[in-house]
Symmetry: C2
Subunit: 369 residues, 2 copies
């Protein structure tokens, strides 16, 4: 009394589909070679479970039948893992891909993930299409980059109980954080200016709605952990030196018209040095400090893409450098940690920064450095 279990599906399909042979599956090959389905499975997934010879025969048959290997979707369901890791980028990938640091991070993560056999899927925020990738895409874990805790993708990810790590974001209970040490980098930068002899210092930030207010009156009410960290570092150094900086900021997350206008007004009574929240912001200030509005024409350039912006401009910018590659690696390592032992991996330490002193900073004399 033969149980027809195995044959049913195959013959059923053959019967209903007249012309096409139907999809080739493990079963098809098994029948062809005269072994069971799981032996074929083993031939592909656990070579040590069968003889060299049998495996060779199976693989040959598979090749002849045009079988490309076990179906990834079926395998994912059976194994409970997909080999795919998701990444949520600030807003959508579209925005993030215009930011050098973000692109560098994606690149580093993709590389580290590849080393571990994982692929990276980009998760856009929910859309008109009705699809919410954080909820609907099959994956084994996710990296959330520079997102506010309120971002909806976060909720979806957590509800699925997927392993996640939070990169350059606000701390969240139960989620490992990866990021650079903004505070100490900022501290160093401020210290550098102070050591040069500056005392009339201005701070330019984003994510903070402030129009040229002395820092002492400033409530650090920013939603950006990154900027909060930098503010902390700057203020600590300035406090130690007894300096009260002026602060200019915009509620936006980056440089916008509001910030430009406030910078311009601030420059009417220029400080001798400026601490800015990004290289782009520093450049903006420098351009506005000399012949504003910035002249589009003249541009001399070299260094191309490999060089960071700060090094390509003139005067070259003193800046706080971060190791984006290391950040990508740290994020992947942290995520893999969470994925492997189900318990919480110890949060990796904040990544160090390095102050890179270039031409833009000098002893106080005339223009802001």
């Amino acid at each position: 009394m033969l149980k027809p279990t195995g044959d049913l599906s195959a013959s059923g399909r053959m019967g209903s589909e007249v012309v096409e042979v139907g999809r080739v599956t493990l079963q098809t090959i098994a029948e062809h070679v005269g072994v069971s389905r799981m032996t074929v499975s083993n031939a592909f997934s656990r070579p040590d479970q069968l003889s060299e010879d049998l495996r060779a025969r199976i693989l040959t048959a598979a090749d002849d039948l045009g079988y490309a290997g076990p179906d990834p979707a079926a395998r994912a369901l059976a194994r409970g893992r997909t080999g795919v890791i998701g990444m949520v980028l600030t807003n959508s990938p579209k925005d993030a891909f215009t930011d050098d640091v973000a692109v560098g991070f994606v690149r580093a993560v993709a590389g580290s993930l590849a080393d571990e056999g994982y692929s990276l899927v980009l998760l856009h925020s929910s859309h008109d299409s009705g699809v919410v990738p954080a909820r609907d895409v099959a994956m084994d874990g996710a990296i959330v980059y520079s997102c506010a805790p309120a971002v909806s993708a976060f909720a979806a990810l957590r509800e699925r109980r997927l392993p996640i790590v939070n990169v350059e974001g606000s701390p969240l209970p139960g989620v490992p954080d990866v990021g650079i040490d903004n505070a100490s980098g900022a501290y160093e930068a401020a210290k550098h200016l102070i050591d040069l002899g500056h005392s009339r210092i201005a701070i330019v930030v984003a994510a903070l709605d402030i129009d040229d207010v002395p820092a002492s009156e400033t409530a650090l009410d920013t939603g950006s952990l990154t900027i909060a960290g930098r503010m902390d570092g700057w203020m600590r150094a300035l406090d130690e030196a007894g300096i009260v900086p002026r602060v200019v900021g915009t509620p936006a997350l980056g440089i916008d018209a509001v910030l430009r206008e406030r910078i311009d007004r601030m420059l009417d009574d220029p400080p001798t040095a400026v601490l800015a929240f990004s290289d782009l912001a520093a450049l903006e200030v420098m351009e506005r400090a000399r012949g504003r509005p910035p002249r589009p024409g003249a541009a001399l350039h070299r260094g191309l893409r490999r060089q960071p912006l700060s090094a390509r401009v003139s005067p070259a910018l003193t800046t706080v450098r971060q190791d984006v590659d290391a950040k990508g690696r740290a994020a992947v390592r942290a995520l893999l940690g969470v994925m492997r032992r189900d318990e919480l991996a110890p949060a990796p330490p904040l990544l160090p920064t390095a102050l890179v002193v270039r031409e833009s900073t000098s002893r106080p004399s005339g223009a802001p450095g």
Copy 2:
């Protein structure tokens, strides 16, 4: 006589796992609410198939039980679609992410895909890990960007019979091509130089091992369709004008030491104008033509990331511009076409280019433009 089909798995799991409640699935919710599994499925996937009221009750129960929605992996298997599209980048994503055009393309594709409800997964080439994403990642189709036909990912994708489109690659039977019209862009550029009065013209290419040979002696034996197309355009215009250019090239796919050396030697007897295969190559020539080796120091800059490289340098580069966003959109549209009707969608026409004349080209007199 009740068939225990449905209950089996649930109670079995409950029995074996003492502490945890086991995973919450459609079944769990179905039992909780007192309906069948497929009604719960309908509540999530086909809201019109059941009453508002029942649906609300189901969704509430799901929420209470911490159910995040149907498992994507299981859904993918049952539905036969994943919602994920793969992208194979030149070499690995790591390399491609240092190329502005490639990054712009990825960005555009991710955006277009998101509009259609798809997510983008980056497919690295096979690796030590043994994982071959093109073979092992569950997806509904793939975009192959700037790859030689021999790239192994291609074979894997085709063996799986996945819908694919080929972007900026060599034509492959049965695969739609998307790309810019390199030949006509190049033709325009050469025509521009000729119209300016140049006749001593040099061509600088990659993917072609040539050391300062007159074009008439040149066998266009390049593996790069892009470069072949440009050569075609240039040569057509030059032929028409009866001009025989000198050609300098390297077997590498980009600028390397070989090319630099050949450029240097070529410049010992400088042409009055140069046609280069990329903006970077054009810059390289300009730098080498004046005070070579290039001086690292001086750099004045503006325009930041939004501006293409060609516009940021001085003298600003005359260049053939392409619409990377349009290319991304075209690739997605073509792929979706293949995915929807199984038959081959008509290959979209080559995307137009535009000659952007800037400072670097002028009438012949001294240095190469």
